[in-house]
Amino acid sequence: MTGNILTSDAAGAAKTETAPFGHALVRAGETDTRIVGLTADLGKYTDIHVFADKFPTRFFQMGMAEQSLIGAACGLARTGLVPFATTYCVFATRRAYDFIAIGAALGRANVKIIAGLPGLTTGYGGTHQGIEDLALMRSIPGLTVIDPCDAIETAQATAAIAQHDGPVYMRLLRGVVPVTLEADYKFEIGKARLLVDGADVAFISTGLMTTRALEAARTLAASGVKAAVLHVSTLKPFDRAAVAALLARVPRIVTAENHFITGGLASAVADLAVDERLPIHLKRVGIPDVFCESGSLPYLAERYGLTAAHLVSAAQEVLR
């Protein structure tokens, strides 16, 4: 298969929205004039160009310089503004980690870091695939960490973090983004949502993997297996009450994340089970301990075990 490296993840989605983050930021910016935007030479590629076109004087192009991007965002926050800074996950978290940890988190600066190409949503190999960003960001005290599932949640989370006082790291689904959650879905910072109930096995998922967990639950239902789906889009603060309640009720668990299987959602679930002494049977679906190849998105999902079919097999394993 050739040339598919550029295939977007929306390929095949029944319903999509374009640039949900950019449009939601414009709506927030219309009522809240404290909101400003910044990017590090990735305005066109992180949908913040929509905001830049609408509010040119409230938008700052920082050039390809991620440390300067985050530092300047912290400085803007210190003057009372609410900066939204965009780049890719890898460059925000790897290049500018110190600036996020110290400037944003320790300094309690009210900055929103919006980071594109989470996990395997790009074909560009290890330099561009943000496979450990959630682990890095979860390790920073006081930072809110969000991995939205679809266009609906991306828009709602954008509005919510604009109102929230404190530093936030949010993964970005950019461009043409699938709509996969129900129209009545309500995002709230720090709240997990039980999307499907079921007593046999439970998927605990985050980010775009929730779409695949929903698909896996439908497949299992067809063979009489009742699978729950708990969507945990806020990784930090972690909704311990909702997750613990599910673990106590349905101890056969499959976690699903578009991220390294260590340090992200699976680790948060395992930590909680240990803390609460909950005996669970946990199977972790996520990216293995390697830098991934370059390739088309379907190829990568298949190769690294992130498809709905992989989730079905994982569920069957914990059911055995």
Partner: protein, 288 residues
Amino acid sequence: MPAAPSGPATSEMIPLTRDLTALRAHAKAMRRHVLRMAEIVGQGYVGQGLGIADVLAAVYFSELRTRPAEPTWPDRDRFVLSIGHYAIGLYAALAEAGIIPVEELSTYGADGSRLEMSAPETTTGVEMTGGSLGHGLTQSVGMALGLRLQGRDARVFNLLSDGECQEGSTWEAALAGAHHQLDHLIALIDCNNQQADGAPSKVMGIEPLHEKWAAFGWHTQRVNGHDFPALLAAFAQIRTTPGKPHAIVVDTLMGRGVKAFEEREKNHFIRVAPEEWSLANRQLEETA
């Protein structure tokens, strides 16, 4: 430290030349490779690949001492590609130099191919995984220090971009290169007047580049990156200027050699319609 022993010459070096006709022929062949790869993928970094072909031809066929059959020869000159997305241009040069097979170019960007769209160092002839921009000059400084310490008579060429002149790490490495007097280190800065969000003058001004590199202690020259005599003269001047690292700012035109790409609105990532490729191939053949 004593010089590390180097084995006997087990293989041939790429024959180097200062013949302008020969260098232009290499560049033309490389542009054909670039178009072939880009057409298979359908879009992408064809503008960069065409734009840098003359500079790469000058480096690979007039300067760089390498052995195609022994790509890890310890005394080789290093060519470090910082801008991973220029891989299409590098693969064309590696194929033309016989370091990778020409036939393999048809796998560029394909699932499972080692010719990834951003060049990984696991691929023969690729010295460093670029693509997270701003790494190239830092590692090049380290290579230059290491080669000097081991008494190896090898040089390090780093190709970086105008966009990379915005990364702080580039300038941290520039300080180090001058401080350690790495006169066997050569930075080629490709000014194609483009980066992801537009022209550097709009995104984040970097000029005057000549003055900046000179102020950082580098022996600096600025030439038209499509002018072979000027490129060769710049390389000649490097050999007679000891004590400092060398910067050559090369001004290039994205899409050079294919009129339709040269003239279209400049874009970091070009989208090309399927029917445009035959015109592109024709225009390349018509270009002198």
